[in-house]
């Protein structure tokens, strides 16, 4: 479904990603792990069109998307959920969610999508009319993911959802991500440590200093970890 081929990405003069390639099959939950500052977020942003790719190519549903705008990609179901949430602080929870359905892809069935998000996170239903800036870290993360779901994603790129969450909330968050996978959403998930997502991913890549390795099934990966 998604095929990243040998991409290089720069921030100004900084060479962040070096010839990174990875594959995500339809319905898969693929993880990318690596320490902070090694280019995980940049990889997701490059896939979702939020940062420019200097060389290489990205195929989505068989078509090159390297030069597509973010709007076009969201319209085709490629949706990014940011590690720093990127909510609209002075809008209500409900308004934030409805903005997730801004494009034609999400419009027309907002009520169904809202119900789905509220079923997943009853807490958000309770706080619908509250401003996003008043939410706790856990609730903000729920809202970020919920807003992503409102866009009716085919492939959800989730950037470190555990960031800043208490351990118990991390478990709940990862459970819901596994649940999303079971309902047919393809997921590319970035986290700092393999231990966190080991139980839910199908395959894992490791990103170190902008160079990727791995991609084997998780059992093989775990063995490599223990060597």
């Amino acid at each position: 479904m998604l095929s990243v081929r040998d991409i290089d990405v720069f921030y100004d003069d900084l060479h962040i990603l070096h010839g990174v390639s990875l594959e995500v099959g339809e319905g898969e939950l693929v993880g990318v792990v690596g320490a902070n500052g090694h280019g995980k977020s940049t990889l997701l942003k490059a896939v979702c069109g939020l940062v420019p790719v200097a060389s290489g190519d990205i195929l989505y549903a068989g078509e090159s998307i390297r030069r597509r705008s973010v709007s076009e990609l969201v319209e085709r179901g490629l949706v990014y959920v940011a590690e720093d949430r990127r909510l609209f602080p002075d809008m209500t929870v409900r308004e934030n969610l409805l903005l997730g359905a801004f494009l034609a892809r999400g419009r027309g069935h907002e009520q169904t999508s809202l119900r789905r998000v509220f079923d997943l996170y009853p807490r958000l239903a309770e706080r619908q009319e509250q401003l996003a800036r008043t939410l706790s870290g856990g609730e903000a993360q729920m809202l970020a993911l919920g807003r992503g779901l409102m866009s009716a994603p085919a492939l959800l790129a989730i950037d470190e959802p555990s960031l800043g969450l208490a351990p118990k909330l991390v478990d709940t968050m990862l459970e819901t991500i596994a649940e999303l996978k079971n309902t047919g959403t393809t997921i590319l998930l970035v986290e700092q440590s393999l231990g966190l997502i080991d139980g839910i991913v199908d395959r894992v890549y490791r990103l170190e200093e902008g160079i990727i390795s791995g991609g084997a099934a998780r059992a093989a990966m775990a063995m490599a970890d223990h060597r």
């Binding site: 979702c48 939020l50 705008s69 969201v74 949706v79 609209f88 903005l99 801004f102 494009l103 892809r105």
Partner: protein, 294 residues
């Protein structure tokens, strides 16, 4: 006492017009993070274009002049944003560069207006003659009209921002640019649109205020400075704050003019600004600056 009330009412009417200028300035600062120094020159340009359309050359009736004026102003704004500011965005220190570019544009517009229309201020007749009496106070009908029109414009803007899909997108961009991109909003389109809208607002204010102040090539700087004070006082990026600040300063100005004379206006605006910022650095209704440029 009657004279005092007349002065107060004059202050309110002018404040309403200033609030339109300020809201335009605030809209562009809030979304595109650009402080537009050409806002005052565009106010003057709007006034000159209105003059050409009405008494200057074409002799159009006011309603028709407004209908022609709005698309012209909007196109000017879109052109400035797409041709002059967009290419800078994202570069090193682009905010400062963009500010300098708008400052340069202000000088170009001022001098173009000077060459085209001459240094002598152009008079503009009031579009409505006569006076009306409110609670025994006699005020010019034109000032009442300015107040009503300005309030209607601000109300329409609020409805647009809060009730329409495109208005939501503008607010989303104002609150988090990257978040807006993530949900698929074309932020460049929003920047162009808000810049167009802000030029419409300041140009319309130019039209509304020209019968009161005359039109002169440098005449936009005072409204710009006042709008700037209003925006800072009301909280950067806050529409309602800008309106509240405009009325507050309009009343202060009216009282100062009444007690001390018109030359004290700007010093008093500045002192008021300093005092408010000492007590509330985020402005009257501001929520503090969020560094959300992505």
């Amino acid at each position: 006492m009657t004279q005092f009330l007349e002065v107060i009412f004059g202050g309110i009417a002018q404040a309403a017009a200033y609030s339109i200028i300020a809201v335009g300035l605030s809209l562009v600062y809030g979304t595109a993070r650009t402080l537009n120094f050409a806002h005052g020159a565009l106010y003057t340009t709007g006034a000159y274009i209105s003059w050409i359309l009405t008494v200057g050359y074409l002799g159009l009736p006011l309603w028709l002049a407004v209908l022609v004026l709005i698309p012209i102003l909007f196109s000017i704004g879109v052109a400035i944003e797409t041709l002059m500011l967009r290419p800078l965005r994202g570069g090193k220190n682009w905010r400062v560069t963009a500010m300098m570019v708008t400052l340069g544009l202000a000088f170009v517009l001022d001098n173009a207006n000077l060459i085209l229309f001459g240094a002598v201020a152009k008079p503009m007749p009031a579009f409505i003659e006569g006076t009306v009496s409110i609670f025994g106070v006699t005020v010019s009908a034109y000032r009442v009209a300015v107040l009503i029109i300005a309030l209607v414009i601000v109300a329409l803007l609020e409805v647009f921002l809060n009730r329409t899909r495109f208005g939501w997108a503008v607010r989303a961009v104002a609150q988090d640019i990257q978040g807006a991109r993530q949900v698929g909003i074309d932020v460049n389109r929003i920047f162009a649109f808000t810049f167009g809208l802000s030029v419409v607002l300041t140009g319309m204010a130019g039209l509304l205020l020209s019968p009161i102040f005359l039109i002169s090539p440098q005449g936009g700087w005072e409204p710009f400075l006042k709008a700037f004070v209003i925006v800072v006082l009301g909280g950067l990026g806050s529409t309602r704050g800008a309106i509240a600040a405009a009325f507050f300063l309009g009343l202060v100005e009216a009282m100062v003019v009444y007690q001390l004379g018109a030359s004290w206006t700007m010093p008093v605006w500045l002192v008021t600004l300093l005092l408010v910022l000492m007590i509330r650095p985020q402005g009257l209704l501001g929520k503090g600056q969020s560094e959300a440029a992505g």
